[in-house]
Amino acid sequence: MPREAEVSVNERAFILEALQENIRLDGRAFDAFRSLELRFGDEYGVADVQLGKTRVIARISVDVTVPPPERKFDGVFQIVAEFSPMASPAFEIGRPTDAEVILSRILEKAIRRSNALDTESLCIIAGLKCFALRADVHIIDHDGGLIDASCIAVMAALQHFRRPDVVVEGEKATILSVREREPIPLSILHQPLCVTFSYYEEEEIFLVDANLAEEQVRQGEVIVTMNRHGEVCQVAKYGGATIDPLAILNCNNIALQKVKDLSKLIQKRLEEDAKQRDVGGLLAELSAENERPMEPPVG
């Protein structure tokens, strides 16, 4: 299997020198994301994210299983991110690269362990039946920033997804099909999003959303996950070079601004999509969901 082509010495010097002069290769500001496009599929729970040249598709699917005996009241939620040779010939099926391991670990920490999804709401009958939710992340095109793009895709897909309604009578649960009852949205507790900072030149320069060439010449990265209320879900640092604690605090401030912008964009796209589906304003009538306050209380 071929290795990922490394940037040449000249190219490396060029990128670093340009950064010293406050110029990025594509002319962006240091703290600017590439153009972000978010599209939803025809089905519920498919989000197609295009971040510059990076493209990620997340797909949510649901199944009914027996909950694990140690967590009787919880449903199952799983995020699967597997690289394929489509994104880069260096990715081999069945042999995860470091980037793949880091991606799945960060997604796990950022979304699953931060309780973004209320898994208790996936329980149908305690100890007997629950929904098993699965998020498949497909990397279609790779030009850096996979973690940020995947996190956006999974969160957007989770918010877009609707699960079928169930009717429980004693020990008998009936799953109602889409035709019988309007499917209901998942209960999302908060929306964590990742912002990756790449640092260069002994932590003098921090870049948001580095592309592949910039990722290859960086000294290290700091991945900050937070929601739009400023609650930090996780901070991870990879790469050998040391970093000043104050710089991390600064990263958090920038990340908050970025996360707010991203959440706003996701929200806007979700509303646009809802409007498109809601032909003739019938959805409000069909909805089987109880009204809940949208904003979770800020601690």
Partner: protein, 247 residues
């Protein structure tokens, strides 16, 4: 409605294509010729690797089976001997399946197969891999109540025509030779032959204006896979050669 195709839209892969028909949407990419692992290296021909990735979950024996079928079909049209000791990596990612796919009561791997083959060919064309000929593929279903085969049926049509007695997948090369046939269900030889002839008409262009498919013209412009393919490639070449024609 005929299939839709977008070529060369991924920037990392050497060739790529997105293909959509009847609710099936598949993204294909080809990397090659690239360096091959020592253990896979063949001294006189290129190694072909086909990966099919389902929309949900990881690959199962169903995908492995489809990979084998596609691998064998493509090996007979790719000029592997002109690029020996290299690797051709073909990745097919199923993007979406129609909702009704699982409830039609027919083998879901057969309904997917022609779309995968067509996507693979488009990606190979986009990557400019040397081919000896093209391959076009089509699905045919024979419902239980009639014996006339339905050509590339919509999953909704399959639901309505339920029960389906047999389904067939045919793939033809550019010179009208049958490259692949997978059939499922009960059928007689005559039925199979009829289906095969119909598939040939749909897949291949008419030879020298002889009205082989005259019966088809009656129900509107029948989609012909080869002319559709030519059209897609023509559009792509026109797009790429714009700089020449512009004055």
């Amino acid at each position: 409605m005929g299939p839709q195709a977008v070529l060369s839209h991924l920037h990392r892969a050497d060739g790529s294509a997105t293909y959509a028909q009847n609710g099936y949407s598949i993204i294909g990419s080809v990397n090659g010729p690239i360096e091959v692992l020592r253990r896979d290296e063949l001294p006189e021909e290129a190694t072909i690797e086909v990966n099919i990735r389902p929309a949900i979950g990881v690959g199962s024996p169903k995908e492995r089976h489809l990979e084998t079928l596609i691998h064998n079909t493509l090996r007979s049209i790719i000029l592997t001997r002109s690029i020996p000791r290299t690797l051709l990596q073909i990745t097919l990612q199923v993007r979406s399946l129609p909702e009704e796919d699982a409830s039609t009561g027919v083998s879901t791997s057969l309904t997917l197969l022609p779309h995968l083959l067509n996507t693979a060919l488009l990606s190979l064309l986009s990557a400019s891999i040397p081919l000896s000929t093209i391959v076009t593929s089509v699905l045919l279903a024979i419902p239980a109540n009639t014996s006339t085969p339905v050509c590339s049926p919509d999953p909704k049509e399959l639901l309505r025509a339920k029960p389906i007695r047999s389904i067939h997948v045919f793939a033809f090369s550019g010179d009208r030779r049958l490259l692949l046939n997978e059939s499922d269900g009960t059928f007689s030889y005559d039925e199979w032959e009829e289906a095969c002839e119909l598939a040939e008409d749909v897949c291949c262009k008419e030879e020298g204006g002889v009205g082989l498919g005259e019966g088809m013209e009656v129900d509107g412009p029948q989609d012909n896979m080869e002319s559709w393919l030519r059209d897609v490639v023509k559009r792509k070449v026109e797009q790429e050669q714009r700089w020449r024609t512009a004055d």
